[in-house]
Amino acid sequence: MFRDPVGDARHYGSMYTMADYKSKVHNIYFNANYAATEKMRLFGTVTYNMAEAALDEVLMPDVSDRLVNPAIIPGGVDLTHANFDFEGMPAYSDFDYKMLSFQLGLSYKITPTLTFTADGKYADLTDDAGYVFGNETGSFYVIRSGFKVDF
């Protein structure tokens, strides 16, 4: 560790502050099943998830009066070459996700032992604060169809 010209260690303790980390998560869902006829059944699902989280602005106290070391800078403060600004910290902790997903499907009984099915799902994620993994915005859909046979 560096020492000043008169031999004292250039160490001035630690500084701290208190900060709030907040997260807010909303979840909404809607499911419906409808037996349209004796042969046909319809179903659907919608879900929406919105999640936000962030650390409040980090405001460290003014500690310049503790950094006075005349042997380094007469009349001034030490450590002026270092950046103790934490403006980037809240950005790194930011989280802002929105996820919409919906699914629709039907089944139709062609005969008492043969049923046709079809369904599809779509999901969309919007990332408004991408950081650790980059921007994670993306979407996908899957569609599916088939026949069920009862024995």
Partner: protein, 576 residues
């Protein structure tokens, strides 16, 4: 893998044997259904979050599902399965033959996709512009196009066999295997003289096996049981390795031998972030039955977990007992007691001498014995009185006490004792089938919760003899001397906790109902000098269920979760 397949084949045969036997029975019901279809998947932009567990291709792929149910007078057999693709498969077999035999076997397989930490926050430099320089933090992604994903397969099986109606002697056996394979990201961190993070792709190939066997029986008026369990985790993938930079001054690049004498390794390719081979053996005994005017249930457990890679072990004794007894026709008492003792090995950490052979006398031996913060003895006791106030209303009042005695943390031989007092009230209300309500409040008062010993704050070293040179003839002051400046233990654990919960259901008819509720928690710690640690969470929710006519079923709901944590952030102020 062949050995695994053999084991599961034997398990399947054991389950299928009763099926063959019941198939000989006349009558009964057999139902089969087979679904054959196809699916098509399409992704846009970043796929690893929205499609974390969804893999697919821009082409139609086959998909298959089946169900089978066999029912006889004395037995039921079911078989379910679904094939989405070769990595997403599920199957389950259930067998029950009277009260003599039950068996279940399940296989689940899925793939989890994982993103890559881009390490963009790991980029800093000591000096401010325009005089940029000084120590520097950098990162390197060696595998920018990596596609991390792991395939998880799980096999579970459990069986129960009644071997004697006399004393109801029943044998139990269960098994669970988890296999994980694929790739994952690992990040190597070099020493502070080069402050350099390196991201690498590592193979994943590990497995967990769990076995449990035991016996249950009835002895006189008590049900007794014993379980022996064994679990092992092992990694078969090659260890990830990284190159550690040569030691040198971070700015000038000189003084290589001086910096090399301060670190344990440098200028070498070494394994890092390795998986240990671990195993755990446990014994559990249980006893329950009527005792006096009430009902007793108790368990006693012993377990030993061992890291076979380091030959370190942790042992645990735990015991719990509950006793429920009526006080009067409207009131009953539930008394509970729990005890635990945890001990971990205390290894000797043998390190190379710091600045070994330094002629200026500034060398240091950092060898030490590591004591575990897990070492503790814990006791809990509680009593709850539940009484019916009116035909519609029930009240439960609980009081409890917990004591945790840590032997060696934060100071060897001077561990902290945590004491917790708990008080809780719960109210239940029911008005026929139309309206129900539940209300709960819980308060906890905790003294000396678990702390981080001297882990956050440093006193000033300037003009402080604690940062004088170790050797009077030397001008050197070392980073490790800052340990002497550390003060005040800190914690995010509370000394007071308030919990609140309310939920209510209104069902005016069989066609619809509404459920409303809210949960809340506020905890804080007022015992920390100058720190104001507290947490708040609130979770309201509402759910609807509508069945306006036999053709329609509609459910909907909303929930909100708010969390706020007030935490300290600290940074040391020094140069060098």
């Amino acid at each position: 893998m062949k050995k695994m397949i053999s084991i599961f084949s034997v398990g399947l045969l054991i389950l299928l044997l009763p099926v063959a036997l019941v198939a000989e029975e006349n009558g009964g019901t057999d139902k089969y259904s087979l679904w054959i279809g196809s699916h098509y998947t399409d992704f846009t932009d970043y796929t690893k979050s929205v499609g974390e567990y969804n893999l697919g291709n821009n082409e139609w792929l086959p998909e298959l599902g089946f169900k089978y149910l066999s029912q006889r007078d004395n037995s039921i057999y079911t078989l379910y399965g679904h094939y989405f693709d070769k990595n997403n498969v599920w199957g389950k077999i259930n067998t029950r033959v009277g009260d003599k035999f039950t068996g279940e076997f399940q296989y689940r397989s899925l793939v989890k996709q994982m993103g890559q930490d881009l390490l963009v926050n790991a980029e800093a430099r000591e000096w401010l512009p325009p005089d940029t320089g000084g120590k520097i933090l950098t990162h390197e992604i060696t595998d920018p196009d990596a596609d991390y994903k792991t395939h998880r397969q799980e096999f579970t099986g459990k069986m129960s066999l009644l071997v004697s109606h006399k004393n109801n002697v029943r044998l139990i056996a269960a098994h669970r295997t988890i296999l994980k394979s694929g790739t994952e990201q690992k990040i190597a961190s070099t020493h502070c003289f080069s402050c350099h993070l390196t991201s690498k792709t590592a193979k994943v190939d590990n497995r967990t096996h769990q076995f449990e066997t035991g016996v249950d029986a009835t002895v006189k008026k008590f049900d007794v049981g014993y379980r022996l369990a064994y679990r092992i985790f092992e990694n078969n993938a090659p260890d990830a390795s990284a190159y550690w930079d040569p030691a040198k001054h971070p700015v000038s690049g000189g003084a290589a031998s001086e910096f090399a004498s301060r670190v344990i390794y440098q200028d070498a390719t070494l394994p890092f972030d390795t998986y240990p081979k671990t195993e755990k053996m446990s014994h559990k005994m249980k006893l329950k039955g009527d005792l006096g005017k009430g009902y007793f249930a108790g368990t006693l457990n012993y377990s030993k977990a061992k890291n076979k890679s380091t030959n370190l072990a942790t042992t645990a004794w735990t015991g719990a007992a509950n006793y429920t007894m009526p006080i009067n026709p409207k009131t009953r008492l539930i008394a509970k007691i729990y005890g635990a003792r945890l001990r971990s090995d205390d290894p000797w950490i043998d390190l190379p001498t710091y600045r070994d052979g330094a002629i200026d006398g500034n060398f240091m031996d950092f060898d030490y014995r590591r004591y575990s913060s897990q070492d503790r003895i814990e006791g809990r006791i509680s009593a709850e009185v539940i009484t019916r106030l009116t035909p519609q209303m029930k009240l439960a009042i609980l009081a409890g006490y917990t004591k945790i005695d840590r032997y060696d943390y934060p100071i060897v031989g001077e561990g902290t004792e945590t004491n917790k007092l708990t008080a809780q009230a719960k109210m239940y209300y029911r008005k026929g089938l139309k309206y129900t309500a539940f209300l709960k409040y819980r308060f906890e008062s905790i003294s000396d919760p678990f702390v981080s010993g001297f882990g956050l704050f440093e006193a000033a070293g300037y003009q402080n003899p604690l940062l004088d040179p170790l050797v009077p003839t030397s001008n050197w002051v070392f980073y490790f001397q800052r340990e002497a400046l550390r003060y005040q233990s800190v914690t995010s654990q509370p000394t007071q906790v308030h919990k609140f919960e309310w939920r209510s259901t209104y069902r005016p008819s069989n066609k619809y109902y509404v459920m409303l509720g809210v949960k809340g928690k506020l905890d804080k710690n007022n015992d920390l000098d100058s720190l104001d640690v507290k947490h708040l969470s609130i979770q309201p929710h509402v759910n609807f269920n509508l069945m306006p006519d036999p053709a329609w079923v509609v459910t909907a709901g909303y929930s909100y979760n708010f969390d706020k944590s007030r935490v300290p952030l600290a940074v040391a102020l020094f140069d060098g």
